[in-house]
């Protein structure tokens, strides 16, 4: 994973609430066994509707996507995060995210930024006016120059800033896991006899 530090540039606006992962990547594209190349499937049906906001030429190439609340709800498909990143987004800013989608984003270095409704509103209304996201400082500089702050889990932040591989981090704690298995592990399901 590439480290995430500063993200700066135009904002693309999708002023819709409850954007579910079925819209972000429809199911017919989940049959692929590869991890790359999902950008072309992003919002597959919506991009084919007249007037879909992200079709606006001034939104093309924007590194920041601003959207309505409860972004990424529904299915756990990480393909949704892969598609947004592969399309070119480096951060998604919304008033709220679904839990699994938010987690999926942080695993691949796509930054989910939760800001108050009024700050997201400014991004959407001024889009494509540029914004600047500073993960270390946990700030978003809005088009008006006003600086908004956001919360992020400190473990997640550290991992993103350094681009660390989560599995490698956990493997460094294998002694702790072995200790758990030796002393606290509960009886398992009989998977092999079931």
């Amino acid at each position: 994973m590439k480290p995430v530090t500063l993200i700066e540039g135009p904002v693309a606006a999708l002023d819709r609430a409850n954007v579910d992962t079925d819209q972000i990547v429809p199911k017919q594209f989940l049959k692929r066994i590869e991890r790359s190349g999902f950008g072309e499937f992003l919002f597959w049906d919506w991009f084919r509707e007249p007037g879909f906001p992200l079709n606006r030429i001034e939104f093309h190439g924007a590194p920041i996507l601003a959207a309505g609340r409860n972004f990424g709800s529904g299915s756990s498909r990480e393909h949704a995060a892969w598609a947004l990143q592969d399309y070119g987004y480096e951060a998604v800013v919304a008033p709220s995210f679904s839990d699994i989608f938010r987690s999926n984003c942080t695993k691949i270095g796509l930054l989910p930024v939760e800001l108050p409704e009024e700050d997201v509103r400014e991004l959407i209304e001024r889009a494509p006016a540029p914004a600047r996201i500073d993960l270390a400082e946990q700030t978003v500089t809005l088009p008006s120059g006003r600086v908004a702050t956001f919360d992020i889990d400190p473990h997640v932040k550290e991992r993103l800033l350094n681009g660390w591989d989560e599995i490698a981090l956990t493997e460094n704690r294998m002694a702790e896991i072995e200790q758990y298995e030796a002393t606290r592990e509960r009886e398992g399901p009989n998977v092999l006899t079931a």
Partner: protein, 449 residues
Amino acid sequence: MRKTMFEKVWEAHLIGDDLLFVDLHLVHEVTSPQAFEGLRLAGRRVRRPDRTLATADHNVPTGPGRPDELSQAQLEALRRNCEEFGVRLYPLGHRRQGIVHVIGPELGITQPGMTIVCGDSHTSTHGAFGALAFGIGTSEVEHVLATQTVMQTRPRTMLIRYTGQLGVGCTAKDMILGTIGQIGTDGATGHVVEYAGEAIRGLSMEGRMTIANMSIEAGARAGMMAPDDTTFAYMEGRPGVPEHFASAVEGWRGLTTDEGAVFDQVVEVDVPALAPQVSWGTNPGQVAPITGAVPEPGDESDERALAYMDLRPGTPLSEIAIDRVFLGSCTNARIEDLRAAAEIVRGRKVASTVQAMVVPGSVGVKAQAEREGLDEIFRAAGFDWRGAGCSMCLGMNPDILAPGERCASTSNRNFEGRQGKGGRTHLLSPAMAAAAAITGRLTDVRELV
């Protein structure tokens, strides 16, 4: 310190302050290939194959014929990966194959107090047994395969207390649809929900699973219910349960929330006030009682939903004609769901304008239903009786809606295009789906009982 059930399970599995040991990892074909590939590239192995089980469900065909080429490649990848990494697999054609959230409980490997994860959001289903069960993404699937742990931020807790008893014709599905309608599709985001109250205790395990299953549709990280005698009676004798079952039961009894334990949020749901529910929009929070009408749009999201669903405010829900009926999915394809629908269907005929199908949740459910003669009831009425799988719940297989088709569906999501591009989904209970099949329109099942 008085603790909630969630806190007990969480603490029993916590390593350090952010790693959770995983007791059971369920795997399916769609969200695992990239995870196995990641292991292969890094030279890692599956750390605990004894706590890992795979099946094929999402893209398997439920009728005659072979899977399409891409689905076949994905099923083949699962077979190859399970063989290479030593993971037990129930593939298409196996007597234990089925929807991953149906077979876990059916095999007795879903147990109280466990942590259970799967690369599927409806993993919350297993919480009906008092397990902490939640969906994860493919990167996390890889992390669990490699380390048998998952990195987590501690969620908040929410109690949803159901007061009063269910009325005639109302089911667990109506309880959860009504709940999501009340709190919204993000009403429980960031929380693990505990469902409690006499209406929950009065439900069978199938009913409890329906509710836990749709926790994610309210945004919840997971949903849990206290294990009780209903739970233990369901589990006893299943192949995966502990050898010393009685002593295991004694341990599980201690998992309930302590008297006076504090939740971050408490919600009350008035159960007797619930009529059978049906969704009218494109998210599971857009629901109304069948006795009601299509509502006036409250915001842009509602307007868009009404346009997609081709519905006008004020239209009585019971006047909406349907083209298809889907009885299936990890929400409602267990034996009791099939029995409830068969009860309505018995001696009646599917309307001539409707194409109806039953897709049992597993090969085991299908066999049980056939032993009980339910397949004959459905077939005689004109239902298509299919093989096990996710089927039209998400249409990753040949079972899909055509553009513009309207479906009464026992599944969990009415998102745009979910059951097929341009398809229109109305979520409801198995009994309500059966009633709709008979009359050809959304129907209050209480008129048919």
